[in-house]
Symmetry: C2
Subunit: 510 residues, 2 copies
Amino acid sequence: MATDQAQSDASEADTYDQFEERVRRISNVGNAAGILRWDQEVVMPDEGTPARAQQLSTLSSISHELLTADETGELLEELESTDLEDEQAAVVREVRRRYDRETSVPQELVEEISATASNAHPKWKQAKEDDDFEHFAPTLEKLVDLKREYANHIDPDADPYAVLFADYEPYIDLETAERVLERLREELVPLIDAIDDSDVALATDAFAGEFDDDDQEALARDVLDSLGYDWDRGRLDTAPHPFSSGTQFDARVTTRFEEDDLLGSITSTIHEFGHANYTLGLPDDGYGTPLGEARDLSVHESQSRLWENHVGRSRPFWEHFLPIARERFPELEDVTPEETYEAANQVHDDNLIRVEADELTYHLHIVIRFEIERDLIRGDLEVSEVPEVWNDKYEDYLGVRPETDAAGCLQDIHWSHGDFGYFSTYSLGSVLAAQLYAAAESDLGEFDDRIREGEFGELNGWLRENVHQHGKRYVTPDLIEQATGEGLTADYFLEYVASKYGDLYELKEY
Amino acid sequence: MATDQAQSDASEADTYDQFEERVRRISNVGNAAGILRWDQEVVMPDEGTPARAQQLSTLSSISHELLTADETGELLEELESTDLEDEQAAVVREVRRRYDRETSVPQELVEEISATASNAHPKWKQAKEDDDFEHFAPTLEKLVDLKREYANHIDPDADPYAVLFADYEPYIDLETAERVLERLREELVPLIDAIDDSDVALATDAFAGEFDDDDQEALARDVLDSLGYDWDRGRLDTAPHPFSSGTQFDARVTTRFEEDDLLGSITSTIHEFGHANYTLGLPDDGYGTPLGEARDLSVHESQSRLWENHVGRSRPFWEHFLPIARERFPELEDVTPEETYEAANQVHDDNLIRVEADELTYHLHIVIRFEIERDLIRGDLEVSEVPEVWNDKYEDYLGVRPETDAAGCLQDIHWSHGDFGYFSTYSLGSVLAAQLYAAAESDLGEFDDRIREGEFGELNGWLRENVHQHGKRYVTPDLIEQATGEGLTADYFLEYVASKYGDLYELKEY
């Protein structure tokens, strides 16, 4: 008996090793593709595109074939019927999920979606340029149909929008997301109205002026230095649409500089730092398996927004950072920390553009997109109705009506990529950021004094211990529960904004 | 009959398409790995290595498996028994060659060589630092044994050194290479002796001084502009060991700058331009198959050396380029073109280091390495004898004896990588460069006047037409024959150096 058991253990170990080898391969191919995409955005010469497209397409199909091979399915089945250690079981769970999704969608449909999206992108761009929704509408309709068909292959009995949402956020129920977004809408609309009615005018011109690109870059490096970015495992470059990417060994940040938007480059750099810092906190020995990979979009966004908003848009941060900024830009000599703090936190309820929105109105932009795309995918809304519904909702929630579709429902790139279900993860990230920050303060005391001193180590240590180091070991609700003692809730975010903006705009009822 | 023929044609076309699809895949994986290696040398943060090593190893084994799969062998056999168009037959020929080599060597041996080389590199580095050949000798011995075993798997009846040489230069016979190198030795030794006896002292201090890195970079960009580098498909960066890499859509150059070596950065940039310019001349529609890939090492090196030496070290080039250089470095105001020409062409017969050698003595450094590694692999020389044989040959051919092994047989990295058979391609490249340049002048007339005017388009057009655009369509001897009307010969190189250095050093007999 003992010998049999030992043999069986040995064979399980073999099976797991074989499985892990396969998983590492898939992960390495994916990470190689990540480098190729970074290269394309940051350093590739203009005319490199045709070759790069073929390279990426080859890597993607190799990865798909490795994942969906019969052998993967057989290994999964074998492992699921054996006693695994917790970490091994987590790896099996994550791979099973991807395996089931990728094997259930016919490859021809995946290719048709990809081809349609490639074709949709220039149509969307043209439509936006010409403010001509009709030019984009037929392609959008086709994408909606194809994505509905895609969802149907994955789970014919489920709400198709819930299936698509799970592509970006696999472990948070759509109901939870809906509940959170509804609460944001219900509570933010009156808060923004109150701000609109307030007589307080915040200081707006702390960052007025023109700021040299090279000096802005030097200051962006100062920001990253100050927050504790690990330059031995990272780098800073510019890209038209800032992003961060990489692995725990090499997590890079990009940002952009505009002469008249110094504040924007600072907050964007802090945001991308938050993403890269999460990646850098993943365990080295988990590299190549889900144990060394970040949880999904909402958790990732919680990290960027925690640093951007709770740290980077706080009063003590500007007390700490303004003297550093003055060394690069002596013209900031006469500006006070309070003025920079106010400039970083103005609420503009007449803004129509999501990417230019402030910390409050931003979520109404998201709610609008969420409601529209959900209804589109469920078949409760026709594509032709989108512009009017969009404008009505802007009027309803934000009190402002777009005069063009270019500044309305054509503003975002996401749908032209066939991405439906993505937007809400931005708001879930903000909500989770506030919840994590409150939990960290509850464990370690208020951070204000430490931020004022430029000491970010303890906050980061808490995030490392409670979020980063776990990779994908826990499903998202368990990760949140363990880190904060409760399930995902908008309470902390709403308390945070009520207190912060109540104070800034001297709102009696907040 | 006609119908049968049509069906058979259709099925052949299917087979070829299937084959080409497989070949494109392998090529895309290889090109992706190329980007990862560029990234590692140029932009990767220091601590990115562990992840990068795994990514590259995964891509390499995927490529190996795709190439050596049974399906590849079956497709090759099927295609070899059908009537193919010339271009298709060329693709089949090239893939067959790689397939036969890679399938004949057991994967365990490949991995052992790779592991031994990884281990050998730090040992070589340490041995060089400590001037302690004994520290490296056992590993070198093991590498020699393993590479002999490797050659034996590929062809047990062939000279093992010829088999290894064919890894770098598959279509030039080792006998041809030996004949060329022997002639170089026979004719260069007396030429260098004559220079040594000459009373002429060339101007040496045209580039004396210290030159700012940023200005050197600007000048390197001027060089590339002037030669016609296509920036839409390329870029310039710095790397510790300059190289160029990429595809016809994206062929990048790296260089390095040392404060006291402006000439070195210019010639190195021109050299790498030559490589990248070859890559950029490969046909776009051949991308992904051997038709869009460069011929092997000697032809590649002929392109870098043609531009570096025949153009970049010519008198008219400096007449053209010195005024440009003066705009970046006003301190060159008093230097004459003749002085820069002389500075770029000094012969140092007392130099022990290959990478610091001039255009003449360089080849004796190569001949020495060639003779030693050939005898090592054939078993005619023991590893323990290498230092003494090395020093004897330096004394014999160059009249100078290394006082340490660090400045002797430990100077080059190649053997620590397990690369035996590589060195000679450098000299074959110089020889072919002269032969091609002579053929181009015979077709288009002397280039001196055009170079003096900074007009490089006709020379490059000739190279595009006669070399670049063919990719790997023709085997190397046929390519050379078609471009120059004869087989590979050292005649033109020897004429070129006799005339150039005879003139510079006022040698009566040359």
